[in-house]
């Protein structure tokens, strides 16, 4: 028997009614933030939920957590309807917002976590064990006694993660968890999440604008754009969807006219550096460059997921 | 000068966007005005004359007081300056070529101007519609009242400016300022007209700046002061305003020095 999916959305939609205009002549306008969303997330998956700003990501997140009721379709999270069973669902999921904290501003982190434990009714013994585990895994020991408002962004993020995981949730929802963090902190958090998923089979859904998060963590990507599902599959498939050509970056010894090399198209120049789009194989282009021009340096740039997405967004709009 | 005119206009414009808050404030002022007037009406029904006030004076006092609460900000809110001192953002303000006192004064006057027009006047109008308030007919009285109100607003600003800057020397000013925002009005005529308090107490309270923000302008409105007393009273108001503003200027230069020398 197949396990209950962690998330199951079917024809999920959400409309907003906007009333605008002067007091006596108000007009109503219906905006569809999200519609026709169909996707299933199995337990233990790590899924990235991507999309440009205003695409409907936070609307979806709000519906998943029960803060917002859908206007169309079906949604089940951990087998429950979020809008109907908000409290029951809340006890089994953990949520982290990158932009604001779920901790109490004036309390030391330790006290915040103790309060959280009571909110989620975690038994004392379980809490102690779990807290030790999380302190070790997230390296919290140095600032457990610091008031949350005095923590750095990276420390606060780790604190928020600890608070979200204290009750061992089945699903972890992360809304921009690495935003504003330095690369060391980001790496630490990514490693932690991979570990968590491996050991506890926690399903993770994350939205992010940092595409290296996606590349490091997620095997599956769901792309939402203008309120509808644009892509649902793995990363390689995403590359295939909007193939972006590779770029040859040539650093000449002195500024020159745009180079005309076989199998390339000149994109732009900046001083002695030129960007050439590869339309054919790279080898002849590189050979021709080396043979006929004074080269200081040469790089072959692979399209990253940013390029893929940028093309995708441009193509769809 | 053009700078401060712009700051003034900005303050005015900013407050004009707080439409819901202004309407709510108007409602609050009217509700409390009616409740306080109700109590005083009952009182003056039992004792028609107390220390020169009669029933009409008392209810007019209540509504002029409610009208003055917002522009003088005698019960708060504190200036945003206090928060900037707490967070340290004040350092950038002190590095600007404009004098902080003048800057914040211009901004606050914009706020006061807006509230006088859109909250004070409607509050009094509401009271006048519901109760038989006393309206001055003599243009000289209106002129005196306008002056007294302007001076009251200045005193109100100067006090809040000092409260805000106190954060440079006191670790956390919130306790102290909330105490002052509470006690001050009690001594000023907001709680009850000062004429109702026993003479020695009332006389002491009248010497304080808060009474110059409420009780004195109200008495001017009611025509309780004849010219020699009137001029003396206005002069006392002006003296308080000048003294508090001067103290504010002194505090500003001390604070600036503190920032430069200690790094804030």
């Amino acid at each position: 028997m197949p396990a209950t999916p962690a998330i199951h959305a079917q024809d999920l939609g959400r409309d907003f009614t906007l009333t605008t205009g002067p007091l006596l002549r108000r007009t109503r306008r219906t905006i569809t933030a999200v519609h026709g969303l169909d996707f299933t997330v199995a337990p233990g998956e790590i899924v990235a939920y991507l999309g440009p700003n205003g695409a409907g990501k936070s609307t979806t997140m709000k519906m998943l957590t029960g803060i917002l009721t859908p206007t169309r379709g079906h949604l089940h999270v951990l087998g429950m309807r979020p809008a109907r069973r908000r409290t029951a669902l809340a006890a089994r999921i953990g949520v982290v917002f990158g932009q604001r904290t779920t901790l109490w501003w004036d309390l030391p982190l330790r006290d915040s976590l103790a309060l959280t434990r009571h909110l989620y009714r975690v038994p004392a013994a379980t809490h102690t064990a779990r807290l030790d585990e999380l302190t070790h895994a997230l390296d919290l020991a140095g600032f457990l006694h610091t008031p949350v408002r005095q923590l750095s962004l990276g420390q606060r993020m780790r604190g928020d993660l600890a608070a979200a995981l204290l009750h061992d949730p089945d699903l972890l929802v992360l809304d921009e968890p690495t935003i504003g963090l330095d690369i060391v902190s980001k790496t630490a958090i990514r490693e932690f999440l991979l570990n968590l998923n491996a050991r506890r089979n926690t399903t993770i859904l994350l939205t992010t604008h940092d595409l290296s998060d996606v590349e490091r963590l997620c095997r599956r990507v769901i792309l939402i754009d203008h309120g509808t599902l644009a892509y649902d599959g793995d990363l390689d498939g995403l590359h295939a969807l909007a193939p972006a050509p590779r770029t040859l970056i040539v650093d000449l010894q002195a500024p020159a006219d745009p180079l005309d090399l076989p199998g390339t198209r000149h994109l732009r120049s900046q001083g002695p550096r030129q960007w050439l789009e590869l339309t054919g194989a790279p080898a002849p282009a590189i050979a021709a460059a080396a043979a006929h021009h004074p080269i200081a340096d040469l790089t072959l740039h692979e399209p990253g997921i940013e390029d893929v997405l940028a093309r995708l967004y441009r193509g769809r709009s | 000068m053009r700078l401060y005119r712009a700051v003034f206009a900005n303050g005015l414009r900013r407050y004009s966007t707080y439409r819901a808050a202004t309407a709510a404030g108007l409602l609050t002022n009217t509700v409390f005005g009616l409740i306080n007037a109700g109590v005083l009406l009952a009182l003056f029904h039992a004792r028609p004359h107390i220390n020169g006030y009669d029933a009409t004076d008392a209810i007019t006092h209540v509504f002029v007081t409610q009208a003055l609460l917002a522009p003088t900000a005698i019960m708060g809110p504190p200036l945003d300056l206090g928060e900037r001192v707490r967070t340290g953002d004040i350092a950038t303000d002190l590095m600007r070529p404009a004098h902080p006192l003048a800057w914040w004064l211009a901004d606050d006057l914009g706020r006061a101007a807006f509230q006088l027009a859109f909250r004070s006047a409607p509050t009094f109008a509401a009271g006048a519609l519901l109760l038989p308030l006393d309206l001055p007919t003599d243009p000289a009285r209106w002129a005196a009242f306008t002056t007294a109100t302007a001076l009251a607003v200045l005193i109100g600003f100067a006090l809040r400016y000092l409260f805000a800057l106190a954060g440079f020397w006191l670790l956390d000013t919130r306790g102290l300022t909330s105490l002052l925002f509470l006690l001050g009005p009690a001594f000023s005529g907001v709680l009850l007209p000062l004429v109702l308090f026993p003479d020695p107490l009332a006389a002491t309270m009248r010497t304080l700046p808060w009474a110059h923000m409420i009780q004195f302008p109200v008495e001017v409105f009611l025509g309780k002061h004849a010219p020699p007393d009137l001029t003396a009273g206005l002069a006392r108001q002006a003296a308080w305003a000048a003294a508090l503003l001067a103290l504010g200027a002194l505090a500003t230069s001390r604070a600036a020095r503190k920032v430069v020398v200690q790094g804030g």
Partner: protein, 249 residues
Amino acid sequence: MAQYPLSLALLGLAQSLSVIVELIAVLVVFGHAHTLAGFTAREALLVYGLAGTAFGLADLLIGQVERLGDHIRTGTFDTMLIRPASPLVQLAADEFSPRRLGKVIPALACLTWALATAGIDWTLQRALTVPLLLASGAAICCATWILGACLQFFITEARQAANSITYGGKALTEYPLAVFGTDTARWATFALPLAFVSWQPALYLLDRPDPTGLPDQLRHTAPAAALLLCALAALAWRTGLRHYRSTGS
């Protein structure tokens, strides 16, 4: 806040002083009038003590609910909805501080003194009813606070307007209701039952006929009025919350 004990003490003191200052105002008024609406100063202090204690308790327990609009605006209300606990309880508990006892203590002291000196004809029944009356009064004040907060589900900036009802109600109930006239007394009995916070209980304890002419039986219905208003408040909260979750503000 907890980091600055002096500030905390001063804030607590400010709360106490606000109660004491209003108490002084009542005394000053009665100092001139001797009786108002048939009530002497001692009897007026009974009214004040009942109202002050009821409101002080409600402020302690539920007062923070009035900041709902701020929480919605900054997104922290959503944070509360993520947790498996009642958002109302979380709201009330947010920034819970013992300094708010500063409002209850002087009011309770005033009430105790008035109970002793206002010339009440004590029976066992009367003595046992006092806690019930206080609890009903506090419940009515709590319900009023919640009703005011629910306004903010629909209009986020309605806090000040809501305050004019909660704090205005407090000011109203601190004086014998008959002082404000028969019409006001009727509104405060049947529209928003604030009369049951201090006025009806005082009439009961002093065994006084109602100067506004309402039936004497009303004074026994304080608990019923409290239950009714609380039910209304609960309904309003559920409606407001449902509205918030279906419009996404």
